[in-house]
């Protein structure tokens, strides 16, 4: 888990490109089939109303009747456009993925050749350089570099080897070098790529729990408004103001929450799509919603909170040596050291003391690190020998060369270890005199901006727990620096699982990332388990999301996307219901002011005529859907803030805005509509 945040593979595409609109329109016409509407109860009611008003318009053709019928159909169509556009965005991605799922021939270990599509779990296949891996599985023999760009979009090849946490391979990726034996783990048609295609196309989309609950509320509001209008007719007849059926249908359509009803599924699809754009695959919409609810984030220290490599942060001089001299010697000793630690020593000497990196030292003899000596260094042409390494090894070398190790060395070493760092001792042997020059402080460096991220999370009410194999003291020191809320030190997989269970028992939802097979139980237990794509298939099976970039920091973005999804739904619901107030003020006076002139006072928008008022309300109702499609696809603006602050803002924008906007909108449309002959 050392992969750093890569650029999103699928760049944030424009929301509505012309090449998406065409297919979307075709798709939305196809969806006019009433059977396609049944999953959207609100829009289904509009569909029935449209059909009914069309029949009425045919039976008794009037301009007004036709206009109402036409705009009602447009309302249904616009609702379909929203869904089709959202789906279309996924389809483009699915097409790319389909290319990866080419029909390949699999070479079984026993030499037989079978079509890849017939592979069963347990089959073992041989893949050599240049061949496409025929199915998902684990490498059981060999090591190879694999091009996974078909899935991740990342062109740099990755290493896959048998055993350990780098053994999983995905069908559709290409082996670039060497030969591996893969044991297939997926059933035909259920491979990772198959699932991805299903997900991004929205085909396997199931309604999420909150979406279902919201649908229930919207349905019951629809029933209430239906009742209010259906029972209005006897009252109207009694009052001598019998209403044309077309007007009643128009009233129903305007009142029922068509705006949110039309956009609801688009919002859901777009939410999944936003994840896909960030290269995260959620196996269910439920997981995305759960992400928004997360109370506790478990973050691995290495790779998530820290850069994962120890870096030199200070040079400490010992026994009267100048610090600059220490830096100079440390740099010389590290020139040939290509480990991240070695590089960081060279860089520190350069940035802190202005010591230029010397690329070549003629005659210098580099001493590589070995497990036996536990130190490395250089023998310079002038006879000087420099060594750096673990405290015990280097001080042993100094003593063996007859040198003396001052007391302060031990003090420095203990101090660094105590603060969670790693000490490296630097020593020299010059003209027969061995001495310790200084100590290099290596430290786990916390990634930039992590503290701010954690503060942000805290403001959202999310607690962060750092998981590490380090000892308690080291862990606390890093936790303090990074600003996480808690640590789980010397963590075993069992500890992780126990922590998750404990959090969940307290009613909290837990999210975590993991890649190893031993993470699998915890990934499965967590409410949101994000598996790294570099991880084992066991981990990927256990989690409910896979991050193709294998960037554990992305968990934070996933939480935000989950929240944004819910906020978008809630805000548009509020907006939709708030719109009804203005529609009443448009339609009711239009219906009854003829009989009860007093009701004309309710016509506060001063709409031109009863017909233009009703028509304007219907047109506004249809157009607002189109106007909000981009918002539904993009999601409403989300900035981390406390619940109260967020609610206040959204109520102001979508609640108050939802009350005021239609008054303006309907009035403007009325100004246009009243120009029509026969309407004004």
């Amino acid at each position: 888990m050392t992969t750093l945040s890569g650029p999103p593979v699928v760049s944030a595409r424009n929301l509505l490109t012309p090449d998406q609109v065409g297919p979307a329109l075709v798709g939305s016409l196809k969806k006019l089939d009433p059977r396609a509407q049944l999953h959207q109860p609100v829009i289904f009611v509009v569909w029935v109303g449209s059909a009914f008003s069309t029949v009425l318009a045919i039976a008794e053709p009037t301009l007004f009747g036709w206009l109402i019928a036409g705009w009602l159909w447009l309302t249904v169509l616009f609702a379909n456009v929203a869904e089709a556009v959202a789906e279309g965005r996924g389809k483009a991605q699915a097409a790319t993925l389909r290319k990866a799922r080419t029909t390949t021939v699999a070479h079984l270990v026993d030499g037989r050749e079978v079509p890849a599509a017939t592979l069963q779990p347990g089959d073992r296949v041989v893949v050599v350089a240049g061949q496409v891996i025929p199915g998902d599985g684990d490498v059981t023999e060999g090591i190879a570099s694999v091009d996974e760009s078909a899935i991740t979009g990342e062109s740099a090849p990755v290493i896959r080897e048998s055993g350990g946490d780098r053994s999983a391979v995905t069908g559709g990726t290409t082996v670039l070098s060497d030969r591996i034996v893969v044991q297939i783990t997926s059933k035909p048609g259920e491979t990772f790529v198959d699932r991805m295609i299903g997900l991004v196309e929205g085909a396997s989309r199931q309604k999420t729990p909150n979406e279902i609950a919201l649908n229930i509320l919207l349905s019951s509001l629809t029933v209430i408004f239906l009742l209010a209008v259906v029972t209005l007719q006897p009252l109207a007849i009694y009052s001598g103001a019998k209403q044309p059926i077309a007007v009643l249908i128009a009233l129903v359509v305007c009142l029922i929450p068509t705006t949110i009803g039309a956009l609801l599924s688009a919002i859901g699809i777009a939410g999944m799509d936003r994840l896909v754009q960030r290269n995260v695959l959620a196996m269910s919409g439920r997981a995305v919603e759960a992400a928004g609810d997360v109370n506790t984030l478990l973050l691995d220290k290495t790779g998530t909170i820290t850069l994962g490599n120890r870096q030199a942060v200070t040079f400490m001089a010992v026994g009267g040596t100048e610090e600059k001299e220490v830096a100079d010697a440390a740099q010389l000793a590290s020139l040939a050291d290509e480990t991240p630690e070695g590089r960081s020593v060279v860089v520190l000497a350069k940035t802190q003391y202005g010591l230029r990196e010397r690329s070549d030292l003629p005659g210098a003899q580099f001493v590589p690190f070995t497990a036996q000596t536990r130190m490395s260094g250089v023998d310079l042409p002038d006879g000087r020998e420099l060594r750096k390494g673990a405290a015990g090894a280097v001080t042993g070398w100094v003593r063996a060369c007859g040198g003396h190790v001052p007391r302060e060395v031990a003090q420095f070493v203990d101090g660094i270890s105590g603060s969670g760092g790693t000490p490296l001792v630097l020593a020299s042997l010059d003209q027969g005199t061995a001495r310790v020059l200084g100590v290099i402080h290596l430290k786990d460096v916390v990634k930039q901006g992590m503290r701010e991220r954690f503060d942000e999370l805290r403001r959202m009410g999310i607690r962060t727990v750092m998981i590490t194999g380090d000892n308690e003291r080291t862990a606390r020191a890093i936790a303090e620096e990074a600003g996480v809320d808690d640590v789980l030190a010397e963590a075993t997989p069992e500890d992780k699982l126990a922590l998750i269970a404990r959090e969940q028992a307290g009613g909290r939802l837990v999210a975590m990332t993991g890649d190893g097979t031993n993470d699998a139980p915890a990934l499965a237990q967590a409410d949101v388990g994000v598996a790294m794509n570099t991880g084992t298939s066991a981990a990927k099976e256990a989690g409910n999301m896979v991050d193709l970039d294998s960037n554990p920091t992305k968990l934070i973005e996933i939480v935000e996307i989950g929240k944004q999804l819910l906020i978008t739904r809630g805000s548009l619901t509020t907006f939709s219901i708030a719109n009804d107030i203005a529609k009443y003020f448009a339609i009711l006076p239009a219906m009854f002011a003829g009989v009860f002139p007093a009701l004309a006072t309710l016509n506060i928008m001063r709409l031109a005529s009863p017909q233009s008022a009703i028509l304007s309300a219907v047109i506004f109702n249809a157009l607002i859907i189109v106007a909000l499609v981009p918002l539904a696809l993009r999601g409403v603006r989300y900035t981390p803030a406390s619940a109260s602050a967020m609610l206040r803002r959204n109520l102001l924008v979508y609640g108050a805005g939802g009350v005021i906007l239609p008054f303006v909108g309907i009035k403007l449309i009325d100004l246009l509509v009243s120009l029509l002959p026969g309407i004004a």
């Binding site: 209430i224 009410g461 619940a643 609610l647």
Partner: protein, 502 residues
């Protein structure tokens, strides 16, 4: 009865329904066999549909009275039938509310308490003691309390005047305290023996408000956070204040020559105590689902009558009937929290309980029930001659009368707009059904909801959780109640009070 054995929600519900069904049956029989019983003062058996209507009316805490008290019910039916139901129907409302509160307060249990224990304790520890004290105060104020069938008095003018008597004060106390509203006399609290003085009227108003406004505090205490209770109380008080302000304003400003001469709309008002007290009483009685009256709502200005109607259309939640007001408001709070919860990006939760599919289904059905009953009932009444025939007024006012009747019945208020001859088989049956469904369907949903909530654990509150005790929530709930009610009833209201009053 094992007081320690608690019931699951279906059992609790069955107990409520069985208890109420038995109540309806007994009250029906009591009215039918009245002439055979002692202390009946020679009253005849009550006609079938009227007896059904009255039985349902008192058991559902509605106390819609299609009959005239002093000429229909003897003292025995008044005491053993009506007064008993005044107590127990109020107690049922409170126990259901408490069961819902337990749903919020408890975690991971399927037990909601024991209905029989709850109802007994509510009667003996809350309603009876307060009623006894209240009855004594009423007697002091001049309310009649005897077992007489009435006396004939010869006045100075030489005519014979019949002065009815009866156990009025004792019934009066629970009538207001239990937000029942069924008067001993047809004129209800406008009758000088029920409401003799201005301060008695004020005391009755106090009794009506006492329990509905006290229960939110109980709620807060039971869920372990009094602020939650005060928030609910705040919404109720805000709605009530706005309503009272509107009522007083429209009553005082109405046009017309006669009204202007009198200074305000005086027809049908409690002229002994003045218009403002009438307005206050009318407002409180409709806000609390009591339905007692000290003036005739039919004679209010059209908009004043409209305010009374809107008060009931709120679903009787501001503060509503005893118990029913609290559970109604809590269900509305659930709806509010759901929408607000989505807007802050979390699965909505109220008091740590997640509001998922089942919870929202039940809450949605709850808010659907009464509007459906009111609208369908009014629609049917206006569509058929049986309904239209009973109207004494034409035009929008006639429509208001019918709309008022169904609103009052379905919301279990029980006040009448008069001007509608409601003691006909059609209205007796239709309004009886509206009362029964309007009472018990919501109870079914509330208890099921309580059961769903109680089995849940509690999710801890964080800064990411939307706080439900702050002014923001109070205003939002206030707005949700008004918007939902406004949108539902606006068309019907526009053809009734609005058409007449604007």
């Amino acid at each position: 009865m094992d007081a320690d054995s608690e019931q699951r929600w279906p059992t609790y519900l069955r107990s409520v329904l069985a208890f109420s069904a038995v109540g309806v049956l007994l009250l029906y029989l009591l009215q039918r066999v009245q002439p055979l019983l002692p202390l009946s003062d020679g009253m005849a058996a009550v006609e079938q549909s009227s007896a059904w209507n009255t039985a349902v009316s008192f058991v559902t805490n509605t106390n819609w009275q299609g009959y005239s008290g002093e000429s229909t019910m003897g003292n025995l039916v008044q005491m053993a039938g009506l007064a008993v139901q005044n107590f127990v129907s109020a107690a049922v409302g409170i126990t259901v509310a408490i069961a819902l509160v337990r749903g919020f307060a408890r975690t991971t249990t399927d037990r909601l308490g024991n209905f029989w224990v709850d109802v007994t304790r509510t009667v003996t520890r809350v309603l009876l003691p307060i009623s006894v004290v209240a009855a004594l105060v009423l007697v002091l104020g001049g309310v009649v309390q005897n077992l007489s069938a009435g006396v004939a008095a010869h006045t100075l003018g030489g005519v014979t005047q019949f002065l009815p008597g009866g156990p009025v004060a004792s019934q009066e106390a629970i009538k207001e305290l239990g937000t029942n509203g069924g008067g001993f006399f047809n004129a209800n609290s406008a009758h000088p023996f029920e409401g003799p003085t201005a301060w008695v009227s004020l005391f009755q108003i106090f009794l009506m408000l006492l329990i509905p406004f006290a229960l939110p505090r109980t709620f807060g205490r039971m869920v372990g956070d009094k602020r939650q209770g005060y928030a609910i109380l705040g919404v109720m008080a805000a709605l009530a204040s706005v309503s009272l302000g509107l009522m007083s304003w429209v009553q005082a400003r109405s046009g017309g020559t006669a009204t202007q001469l009198a200074g305000a709309a005086m027809e049908g008002q409690e002229v002994r105590f003045g218009g403002p007290l009438s307005a206050l009483f009318a407002d409180v009685t409709t806000l609390t689902s009591t339905g007692a009256v000290n003036s005739m709502h039919d004679s209010f200005t059209p908009l004043g009558g409209g305010v009374a109607m809107v008060n009931m259309m709120l679903g009787e939640v501001a503060p509503g009937g005893v118990g029913s007001g609290l559970y109604g408001m809590l269900v509305l709070a659930v709806i509010t929290v759901f929408v607000a919860g989505l807007m802050v990006g979390r699965t909505p939760e109220y008091l740590g309980k997640r509001l998922g599919r089942r919870e929202m289904t039940l809450a949605s059905l709850y808010i659907l029930t009464t509007p459906a009953l009111v609208l369908i009932g009014t629609g049917i009444a206006m569509a058929f001659p049986a309904g239209r025939g009973a109207m004494l007024n034409a035009g929008p006012h006639g429509l208001s009368e019918v709309l008022y009747a169904f609103t009052s019945a379905a919301n279990n208020n029980g006040s009448a707009f008069a001007g509608l001859s409601a003691n006909t088989p059609f209205y007796n049956v239709a309004l009886g059904l509206a009362m029964a469904f309007g009472r018990f369907l919501p109870i079914v949903f509330v208890l099921a909801l309580a059961g769903r909530l109680a089995v849940q654990g509690r999710r801890p509150a964080t800064v990411g959780t939307f706080p439900t005790h702050r002014p923001l929530f109070v205003s939002l709930l206030f707005a949700v109640v008004l918007v939902v009610v406004g949108l539902t009833y606006f068309p019907a209201l526009s053809l009734g009070p609005l058409a007449e009053g604007l």
